[in-house]
Homo-oligomer: 389 residues x 2
């Protein structure tokens, strides 16, 4: 333990035409440039991709899921194995979520009280009780650089009164998380703004969290079915009210279109399972729109997954070979397209950062075809916030 | 096409106490040191392992299966995708087998005649007819550096008369393969010695093949259930009769014990699915014997898979994490143990080569615990020649 802060945010450039900003976050395990995209390593691994290849995509920070790791192998096992950085073989920055989103969306919930949530483990059916302080204790054991407050995540269509109660509860839980946090000199605990699509409620939640002085803030409960315009309205309203000197994280988002819109509102950090989940289904992101590599037109296609891409898959393999690997049920199919998709997202982020740095973000946003890529081209089933990787 | 031979074998050192030999084979796609172990890329990929990681294990030549690739995606698709080196993203030497072993062991055989074999495709149930010249045509399309004659592979317990007929047929087919080979300046066609455990029959087969002047020779039809002592007796008898100026390949073998015994008889090349197939089942090779990484004693084990191993898995991951990946059904479990096992085999081969080079092979064989590792420690179900990867 030292007196140095576990997180430092540097605002390098504020865009003049939008709220977009270029920045850099330094943790005790290194630095990442913002706006940043975090690949999701739900169970302690980005599915199918070895850490050296994750790093080669340009990823600087990755995410792991508290919910999954507490159930298997258990946070104490991870701690005994020298914590998450060693467990995942990822020496750079790591963020863990709180499990809040998962217990509300994934699990068989038995009971939600002011105390916490009781649910059934998807691993062995046992009954688990997770509280705000319990989530923080788990995250203290896991040892990520950035950890998240335990919040209540109502569905998009929850009635107004439920949303209000959920915000009240989220705020009480946020206080409890702060009080429970045992490693504030090593791990940075972010607060999470809830409130559905009610802009006044979002504003209220944000203000109360800002009073609690978290080292960073997330916007949660978006991209859960409320629609792109509603998401944008919330982000445009709440993001600029968050402290400019701290990083801002939009949880579980999303398609390039969503990321670009959120960057315009001043968001710095993103995570999403889209690159890997879609990759495992032979769905490859390209600037010209998604392609499905199982399609028979790729059988003898000797081009790379995406022309001009510099990822390991595109530098080494043909579309025809990748298609074959999917039909032959070879791991290399999912591995290669996941790799490409992560690199696609990291090239997008790098170009966004470059555009902001050069004062050309608004121009870039209007002219780069990737800025418009949303779920429309993808089919409804593959858009939105993923419940699980 | 040039006049330079597609294969050059250099005998660098002949062991004085055994038939073991240190050598080097140069193909049009590079060189490999012998004795060499070839990881198996059945369907055009070493299962789960990207080519850069395969290369990092010290593998210099890899194998692919004609039988699988002709059925899916089809040899003409591979040819249209610039042949196997590009398809597999492996710029180094590649060997393809002829499909003989697979049609006799894997498939629903409808009919074997002097002409060839008629069988049912395991991919779509269609009826396929494979002849010696057909197998060579497929291998000419695939474009590997070393290709194999199409041979008849009787089971270990086949009656003597069947073995004799199979050898006669294998010899006729070998002639047909030589005649059909359309790219002799680019691909080297090896002949395959058959004959079961009948030493006189093996000798007869070898002599006839030597008369045909192949650029290299394989010993086939071993490790198919005849037992270690019988395998050894055949190798001790037949291997020294093969031309010293050409490489010798023992097909589908095997455990370290088998490889060491075969090296002692003068074998130069090996292939086996053991490292990857067992790796996918959490079975890790170590010098002290195999370990099963699903075992609960590894739950919080912070050591590497094998102490002192320099593979990517051992340098980066704990046994506890690898165990977790298997229980969580994450691809990284199979990937990491496959990687380790391939590296285990390549370290074994490198140490064998070093020992021969230093004139210490016999001493090494008597003192290194790996030289005794056979299927006994592994459980019967995971030994012997594997029918398929």
């Amino acid at each position: 333990m030292t007196a140095s802060p576990p997180l430092r945010y540097e605002l390098l450039k504020q865009d003049s035409q939008t709220h977009a900003r270029l920045g850099r976050v330094t943790t005790r395990h290194g630095t990442f440039d913002t706006p940043a995209f975090m690949p999701v390593g739900t169970q302690g691994t980005i599915k199918g991709v070895l850490p050296d290849h994750v790093a080669a995509t340009g990823s600087q920070i990755i995410l792991a899921n508290t919910y999954h790791l507490m159930l298997r192998p258990g946070e104490k096992v991870v701690a005994a194995l020298s914590e998450l950085h060693r467990f995942m073989a990822w020496p750079g920055p790591i963020l863990t979520d709180s499990g809040g989103f998962q217990v509300f969306s994934l699990s068989d919930i038995n009971k939600v009280t002011d105390d916490g949530v009781t649910f059934k483990s998807h691993v062995d059916g046992s009954v688990v009780h997770l509280t705000p302080s319990g989530s923080i204790a788990v995250q203290n054991h896991l040892g990520a650089d950035i950890i998240m407050a335990f919040d209540e995540c109502p569905p998009a269509d929850a009635p107004a009164e439920y949303q209000r109660q959920a915000v009240e509860r989220t705020l009480r839980w946020a206080q409890q998380c702060l009080a429970a946090h045992a490693r504030p000199d090593e791990q940075s605990l972010f607060g999470i703004v809830q409130g559905g699509t009610d802009l006044a409620l979002r504003d209220f939640c944000a203000k109360r969290l800002i009073d609690m002085d978290f080292p960073g803030y997330a916007v949660g409960g978006l991209a859960v079915g409320e629609g792109f315009e509603a998401t944008k309205a919330v982000l445009e309203s709440v993001t600029p009210t968050l402290p400019a000197a701290k990083p801002r994280y939009l949880m579980g988002v999303g398609f390039p279109r969503d990321i670009v819109a959120a960057v315009s509102c001043g968001i710095d950090m993103f995570d999403c399972v889209l690159p890997t989940r879609n990759g495992r289904n032979a769905y490859a992101f390209t600037a010209a729109g998604p392609i499905r590599l199982r399609n028979s037109r790729f059988t003898s296609d000797s081009g790379p997954i995406e022309d001009g891409c510099d990822c390991y898959a595109c530098r080494n393999f043909t579309r025809g070979a990748v298609r074959h690997f999917f039909f032959a049920a070879e791991m290399l199919g999912p591995i290669l397209v996941s790799l490409h998709n992560i690199r696609f997202f990291q090239r997008l982020m790098a170009d966004i950062r470059r555009a902001i740095g050069e004062g050309l973000f608004e121009h870039w946003r209007r002219t780069d075809p990737r800025a418009a890529l949303g779920p429309a081209a993808a089919g409804k089933d593959e858009g939105g916030r993923m419940k699980d990787e």
